[in-house]
């Protein structure tokens, strides 16, 4: 009897007591219910349409297990004994009555019957297995015993069997649910619900009693109330209600009340059983359905809630995951962006620097280029895949051959190394020629096999061009600066030109010294704004124009005005300059300044002053065409004049005024040697780097007569005028009387003219002029290195020569001419005495 609680093998005393009391309780209940049930008997006294003990027995077996069978069996026997024909029949009937509930309980437990009967399957189980099927046993045994014991004739067997079966089944259906309900947890309904339940039960009872006590067939009126009760309270309400209704109906049938007044026994029986079955089925199924529905709804709600909860949790999880994912995406994006940015920056840097890089995977002959490499070669980036040959396609034939040879040599060396940098030319598809500088490095494998070569290529076209331009400009500038300064006796000249080191461009600074036909010296210094070839060429043009104007115009302001006009018309640049003329004989300086730093005059005692007069605006700065002004100054013997461009006094971070002050201080310590002074000034003023070009021109007036005058001059007519200036000055410095000076000047001039005219003919050559003061007598010696040739015979030269000879002899005290293969020497003497004194001396 698996499924029902089995008989314990050993029972304790208390357990035995409990067992016994259960048997007594079950037996007692069975017996009482049987007595009550018999009151409802329709046939004889032992066949009742509603047999409650069966329900009690089923419930007892379900609750306590099959071991309480003695209670049932004894009670059944006790009930049947008085109504059976003999003890054997009573025992047989009792056996049937015991066996049927046991089988019912067994089957119900077997199919998982729940005592709450809250599922449709529970209702079906109790109806079909617990009641209809199981009760076949008791009905068959009971009815058979009645026939066999002779209590009823065999012809009444079917009727007896049917009443027995339905009575037992109804006993189960009506009583069992009610009893099972009693064994459940106490009902926790509210007062209002309890009241409602009470009222409903009362209604069911009232309606049942009413319909049973009327002749009208209104038994069906009970059904709605049962349904209501089942709907409101399920089995808790339905079971008692059904018990009430069925009990009342059975009672009515037994007493022949209302609907049961007429008709045969069978008809009454059918009516009653149909009613009871309807009541039992309806309440059972309806309650079970409602419970199930409610539970389903609750389960659904719970599931929904759980689902909602789960969805909520899942949503939270998802949103967390989503947030994490978003964060990761953002990080990835950021990293991506940074990478792209860095790539972009690299590309940009390459583009700006015009540097590309490449890699050559040698075993596969696969070359990859950076974007800039493509641009350098005049292609769109990543325009095509490359091989080595494709990569050098644009390289000019000669250079390509050299590159191939270099690469072949490198591949054969079998070790990692850098290839020598190589400069080469390419011709782009559009014909543009570029100059590139390539660098490369070879990597080899462990076996010395070449693996790959990486390298960079820089487009140096522009810098090559700039370098070339720079060279041209520098050459141009150098060629435009005087390669040597004129030699002017009594005047020291020194010049410096320092190109900017920090800038690859040459500047437009220049200086010039012009020996003017009237014996004065023109000095110019200037600065064309800007650098490079243009500034240099502008400078060249201005220098030539200035020379031309200097020869034409006597006045420096006129010269500057004309240059200003020229600049306004032809030159797009701003130019500053100073032009000055210096008369060595008198020491007079006249100058005009177009926006240039002022010249610095340093006296022989070291006193310094800037010559700030004569200042006009820079050339090209304004359309001002007013007259340039001109001022004069005097340069004493021993004084130094410094002309310079702003590069000398301008420094980054200091004002030009500081520079001027510093120059003044430095120049005060002027020293003996003008060249040394220039070096000293440049060395002190210019620190590490020359940021701008510097031109410096220095002039110093030195005493002539301190020693004999010795000049070596080219044998050309134009040297005569400057020579006269020098001789005049020398004579003045030795305090010769003006009349004596005039005589010596003419005689000297004649001797020099002869040397120029005769000594070299058309050839270039030098001659020497030597003036010595000795014992109050001036001795003039003119020496040439040519052969004294007879005059060419032209009338003019002949006449001049004759006049000259005569003048020399008349003007001087003595004239000696010695001609030899090495040249001719003319030696002349003249006393400084004048008038009668001189006549006396001559006479001696």
């Amino acid at each position: 009897m698996k499924g029902l609680r089995g008989h314990p093998k050993q029972m304790s005393r208390s357990t035995l007591l409990r067992y016994t009391s259960k048997i007594v309780l079950v037996g007692g209940a069975y017996y009482v219910a049987a007595i009550l049930g018999l009151r409802l008997a329709l046939i004889e006294r032992n066949v009742t349409p509603l047999w409650p003990p069966t329900g009690i027995a089923v419930v007892a077996f379900i609750i306590f297990g099959w071991r309480v069978w003695p209670g049932v069996a004894l009670a059944a026997f006790a009930v049947n004994m008085p109504i059976s024909t003999n003890g054997l029949a009573a025992a047989a009937t009792a056996t049937g009555n015991t066996l049927a509930p046991i089988v019912a309980a067994l089957l119900l437990v077997r199919v998982g019957f729940r005592k709450e009967i809250d599922r449709l399957q529970d209702a079906l189980a109790i109806v079909f297995l617990g009641a209809l099927l199981s009760m076949l046993i008791s009905a068959s045994v009971g009815a058979g015993t009645l026939v066999l014991s002779g209590a009823i004739p065999a012809s009444k067997f079917p009727a007896a069997w049917a009443v027995w079966w339905t009575g037992d089944a109804m006993g189960v259906l009506v009583v069992a649910p009610f009893l099972l309900g009693l064994f459940q947890r106490p009902w926790s309904g509210s007062l209002r619900e309890r009241t409602e339940a009470g009222v409903l039960l009362l209604l069911v009872a009232t309606v049942s009693v009413l319909v049973m006590n009327t002749d009208l067939r209104l038994m069906f009126l009970v059904i709605p109330f049962l349904g209501w009760t089942a709907w409101r309270f399920q089995q808790r309400g339905a079971a008692p209600a059904a018990l009430l209704a069925a009990g009342i109906a059975s009672w009515a049938a037994a007493h022949g009340l209302g609907p049961f007044q007429q008709g045969t026994l069978l008809e009454k029986m059918i009516t009653l059983q149909a009613f009871n079955a309807t009541v039992a089925f309806s309440s059972l199924f309806f309650a079970a359905l409602v419970t199930e529905r409610t539970r389903a709804r609750e389960a659904l709600e719970r599931a929904a809630a759980e689902l909602e909860d789960r969805v909520g949790r899942r949503t939270a999880d998802l949103s967390t995951a989503n947030a994490r994912l978003k964060h990761e995406i953002a990080e990835r994006h950021d990293a991506d962006r940074k990478l792209r940015q860095r790539e972009g920056q690299l590309a940009e840097v390459q583009q700006q620097a015009q540097v590309g890089n490449w890699e050559w995977v040698i075993p596969e002959d696969r070359v990859s280029w950076s974007d800039e490499m493509y641009r350098i070669h005049g292609h769109l980036p990543k325009a095509f895949p490359l091989t080595f040959e494709k990569a050098v396609e644009q390289v000019e034939e000669e250079d390509a051959a050299r590159i191939r040879a270099n690469v072949q040599a490198a591949l054969g060396r079998g070790r990692d190394h850098d290839l020598p940098p190589s400069e080469y030319r390419i011709v782009r598809a559009d014909g543009a020629e570029r100059v590139l500088l390539g660098k490369a490095r070879l990597s080899v494998g462990s076996d010395g096999q070449p693996l790959r070569m990486i390298g960079t290529v820089k487009d140096i076209t522009e810098s090559k061009k700039a370098e070339r331009e720079h060279r041209i400009a520098e050459t141009l500038q150098r060629s435009l600066l005087p390669d040597r300064l004129p030699e002017i006796p009594g005047v020291m000249l020194a010049a410096r030109y320092l190109p900017a080191t920090s800038d690859i461009e040459v500047g437009g600074d220049w200086y010039d010294v012009v020996q003017l036909p009237n014996g004065t010296v023109g000095l110019a210094i200037g600065d064309v704004a800007g650098h490079g070839l243009r500034a240099a060429s502008t400078m060249g043009q201005l220098r030539m124009a200035l020379r031309a104007y200097a020869l034409e115009e006597e006045s420096p302001s006129q010269v500057v005005s004309r240059v200003r006009h020229l600049v306004r018309l032809l030159v797009p640049d701003i130019v500053t300059m100073i032009y000055l003329t210096f008369d060595p004989e008198s020491g007079t300086l006249r100058f005009a300044n177009a926006g240039h730093p002022p010249p610095l005059l340093v006296g022989w005692k070291g006193e310094t002053s800037y010559l700030e007069g004569g200042l006009g605006p820079p050339l090209g700065a304004t359309t001002h065409l007013g007259q340039d002004i001109e001022v004069a100054a005097h340069v004493d013997a021993g004084s130094t004049l410094l002309l310079f461009t702003d590069g000398l006094v301008e420094r980054r971070g200091t004002s030009i005024r500081d520079g001027l002050t510093r120059l003044k201080t430095l120049a005060a310590d002027r020293g003996e040697d003008l060249e040394a002074l220039c070096d000293h000034l440049l060395g002190s003023m210019v620190t590490s780097q020359v940021s701008d070009d510097i031109a410096l021109l220095a002039l110093r007036q030195v005493p002539l007569a301190a020693e004999p005058l010795l000049l070596r001059l080219p044998a050309e007519p134009h040297v005569l005028a400057p020579l006269r200036h020098t001789v005049r000055r020398w004579l003045r410095e030795i305090d010769a009387d003006p009349r004596v000076a005039d005589d010596v000047l003419i005689a000297c001039g004649e001797a020099c003219a002869n040397a120029i005219q005769h000594a070299y003919g058309a050839k270039d050559g030098l001659f020497e002029v030597n003036l010595v003061l000795s014992d109050g007598t001036v001795e003039v010696t003119i020496r040439d290195l040519g052969s004294w040739r007879p005059s060419s015979g032209s009338g003019r030269a002949e006449r001049r020569g004759g006049l000259g000879q005569r003048l020399m002899r008349e003007l001087m005290d003595s004239v000696d001419v010695n001609s030899g293969p090495g040249g001719t020497v003319v030696r002349m003497r003249r006393s400084l005495q004048v008038g009668a004194d001189r006549e006396r001396t001559r006479a001696r």
Partner: protein
């Protein structure tokens, strides 16, 4: 002009006055001669060369004047040269005996006022 010598001229009817500023030597004698001859109009009867502002003149200048005198005379014109007494140029003239072939005046006014050929009175 920033030249060694500069020539200016004035025409007074048939008289042409030429002033030479600066210095004359073998480097510019031809230019000066050309300039003087260029200044003489065709109608000129008398040419006065004023050397008052000439600061230097040597054999080349003297030869120039002799040549000028020859050309002027060949054209039936007369030449007078003005050299102040205290001029450094004057001694060269006198020492070479040029006054014997060229009219020499001390002042330009005297030379211009002369109506007939001959030496001026202030001749040394």
């Amino acid at each position: 002009m920033n030249e060694l010598a500069r020539v200016e001229s004035e025409q007074h009817g048939s008289l042409c006055l030429v002033r030479v500023y600066g210095e004359i030597d073998m480097s510019n004698d031809r230019e000066v001669l050309t300039a003087i001859e260029g200044a003489v109009a065709r109608k000129t009867v008398r040419l006065v060369v004023d050397l008052t502002h000439t600061t230097y003149l040597d054999s080349a200048g003297l030869a120039l004047l002799l040549r000028l005198a020859e050309r002027i005379q060949a054209r039936q014109q007369r030449l007078s040269v003005v050299v102040p007494v205290d001029s450094p140029v004057r001694r060269a003239f006198e020492l070479t005996g040029l006054p014997s072939v060229i009219d020499l005046e001390s002042r330009s006014e005297d030379a211009m006022n002369q109506t007939r050929p001959g030496y001026s009175n202030d001749q040394v």
